[in-house]
């Protein structure tokens, strides 16, 4: 069952449950930060509307910088602002930033310890009709390989807002990952938020496997847990909102209860959440694992829900993976 202590959306599984893109939470988060902290500045590379910078830009025009289609320049300008006491958020699509400007961010922001927040939008295959060129599916891998950065992936728009505010209030580089398409609202304003901790969203007696999910696919993990429970298979579902640092203590506790893990992410199965957890469990508690995500391929154009089904990231695929991993114990 949904963890009652976390005040999650009780209507989550209803047909008319609220759906909103996580980028909306980013937009609200930066607007809020703009109000509370005069040092917060926002930069975009010709994507102010689709990365939800417009409210900030309207309210704080002198602190908003339009860089044009130039992601390297945007990143390094932000680096300069960040070493001068400002708290810059750079907003673009994740394929371009931190994709195209990866080395610029590495040198001028991360290694340089500049206090910049990188907002990577349009992540995952749920970017949909734009096709694989615009679906960021390697961004977790290329950011979490850096030392001294936090990699945070909100599961819904409410957590996205909290994560954005958290990023603005924490010192040092942060990568935030957002989605374009509407996704179910899983949490509520009352859900406690600690950006770096793993929270157990689905609890059960005698669980047989632990599902670790990150980002919007957490919804499908919870749906799978509900369906499996109706069939007599109990699991735990954890929301891993921070890939780096990884809450190893909690991950270990959750996997020790079940002895099996399934990871779920809208990202390549190489180098993302599955990679991070398998590296960790290999050193601490090797258990059978299954990996839900993009299976070393590029996706294509299509509606988000069609892509989630075709590329086997929906509840059906997750249920299958759970059954498989339990057999392997």
């Amino acid at each position: 069952m949904l963890n009652s202590y976390l005040h999650l959306n009780s209507k989550l599984f209803d047909k008319d449950a609220e759906q909103k893109p996580t980028r909306d939470g980013y937009g609200e988060g930066i607007a809020r930060l703009g109000l509370t902290n005069p040092d917060v500045v926002v930069l975009t590379a010709d994507l102010s509307e689709s990365t939800r910078c417009e409210e900030f830009a309207r309210k704080f025009p002198e602190r908003f910088f339009e860089c044009g289609v130039a992601e390297q320049n945007m990143a390094a300008i932000a680096a300069g602002l960040g070493v001068s006491g400002k708290i810059p958020f750079i907003s673009s699509y994740a394929t371009f930033s931190p994709g195209k400007n990866w080395e610029t961010i590495r040198t001028t922001i991360v290694y340089n310890k500049s206090n910049v927040k990188i907002a990577g939008h349009h992540s995952g295959i749920v970017t949909g009709p734009d096709g694989a060129t615009h679906q960021a599916t390697e961004d977790i891998a290329i950011t979490r390989a850096w030392p001294d950065i936090k990699v945070i992936i909100p599961c819904d728009w409410i957590e996205a807002k909290k994560a954005t505010i958290y990023a603005g209030e924490t010192e040092g580089p942060v990568y935030l990952r957002f989605t374009r398409d509407k996704t179910p609202t899983i949490t509520t304003d009352k859900t406690p938020y600690d950006g770096l901790k793993i929270q157990t969203f689905w609890v059960s007696e005698n669980p047989a496997a632990t599902i670790f999910a990150t980002g919007h696919l957490l919804y499908y993990a919870l749906l799978a847990a509900k369906n499996l429970s109706e069939k007599g298979i109990e699991v735990l579902v954890a929301n891993v909102s921070s890939i780096k640092p990884l809450d190893g203590e909690k991950a270990l506790e959750l996997v020790e209860k079940t002895g099996a893990a399934v990871t779920v992410e809208d990202h390549q199965v190489i180098g993302g959440l599955g990679g991070a957890l398998s590296e960790f469990f290999a050193k601490t508690k090797p258990v059978p694992m299954e990996f839900i995500g993009l299976q070393d391929t590029f996706a294509e154009s299509g509606a988000a829900i069609e892509l989630i089904k075709k590329y086997q990231m929906d509840e059906v695929a997750i249920e299958k993976a759970v059954k498989k991993v339990i057999k392997r114990k």
Binding site: V41, E62, R63, F65, C67, G68, A70, Q72, N73, A75, A76, I77, A78, A79, G80, L81, G82, V83, S84, G85, K86, P88, E103, T104, T107, T108, Y111, N112, K113
Partner: protein, 284 residues
């Protein structure tokens, strides 16, 4: 600053010569690194650290200091030598260049050494960072100046032009870019590798104020910087024509010295040349 008489110029030239000696000896000690660029820029670094910059070596984090951003980080031996002479750290420490546990990284790392404004080495990124620093100064209504030194070769990086467009758009008149126009890069002469001319016209078309100057003439260079301060509503670029390897006869204008250090024999010869000339490598 900017108060120049003949005595002061001679003093700056002698400092430049001392910087050159320190470049040679630290590169010899390091066993790797770049020779030609640092030598060519010794005059400009002398001008910055001993005349132009409003700075305090004992308080490198002073918030009202002028900022000097080095984009082409590979010429850092000249910056390290100038900083040591200016009192940021002991001259002795130059011997640790590129060595384990040193603050003097092969390419400059901001958090390793107080007094560095950015981390640099990968080319084309410095002007953008200087722009960010200049924007912050403007937001905070600060009066300090932001200087960025970049190489000519790194203008092949698209990022440089992204930054040039942006600075023109934002009319950043607190920003001055100095281009080390020494015409060489690793693979040869810039005009053979990828023609850059007409460089002046390029910047003018990006809405910059452009000044061309002999970068090995300290007086002309300081005059150019002074001029840049009086230009409003536009960033200024000073195209400083320099001689790569300046002061060491066998290195001058030879691109093969771009990315290698002298060996013992070459260093001895170079140091002898520099010491014999004393402060006479002056402005022709």
């Amino acid at each position: 600053m900017f108060e120049l008489n003949d005595k002061k110029i001679v003093d700056l030239e002698e400092k430049a010569n001392k910087i050159r000696e320190l470049i040679i000896s630290s590169l010899l000690e390091a066993g790797s690194g770049h020779s030609a660029g640092p030598l060519g820029m010794a005059d400009i670094f002398s001008a910055f650290y001993f005349n132009i910059l409003n700075h305090d070596p004992k308080n490198p984090g002073w918030e009202d200091r002028d900022r000097l951003v080095l984009s082409n980080g590979h010429i850092c031996p000249v910056r390290y030598a100038a900083m040591a002479l200016a009192g940021y750290f002991p001259v002795e420490e130059l011997k640790t260049l590129r060595k384990i546990d040193s603050r003097l990284q092969g390419h400059p790392h901001r958090t390793s050494l107080p007094g560095l404004e950015t981390t640099s080495g990968p080319l084309g990124e410095g002007l953008s960072q200087a722009i960010g620093i200049a924007l912050a100064a403007r937001l905070d209504k600060k009066k300090h100046r932001i200087y960025c030194i970049a190489s000519d070769g790194e203008h092949e990086e698209g990022n440089t032009w992204e930054a040039a467009m942006f600075a023109g758009k934002e009319r950043l008149d607190n920003l001055t870019l100095v281009i080390d126009r020494n015409n060489i890069q690793i693979d040869g002469f810039t005009e053979d590798v990828m023609p850059l001319e007409p460089l002046k016209a390029k910047y003018e078309s990006f809405n910059w104020n452009v000044i061309e100057v002999d970068g090995n003439n300290i007086r002309s260079f300081i005059d150019a910087v002074s001029q840049a301060r009086s230009v409003h509503e536009k960033p200024t670029v000073i195209i400083a024509n320099t001689i790569p390897g300046k002061g060491v006869d066998f290195m001058e204008n030879d691109y093969t010295w771009h990315g290698k250090p002298p060996n013992k024999e070459e260093a001895d010869k170079a140091l002898k040349e520099l010491r014999t000339l004393g402060g006479k490598i002056r402005t022709e």
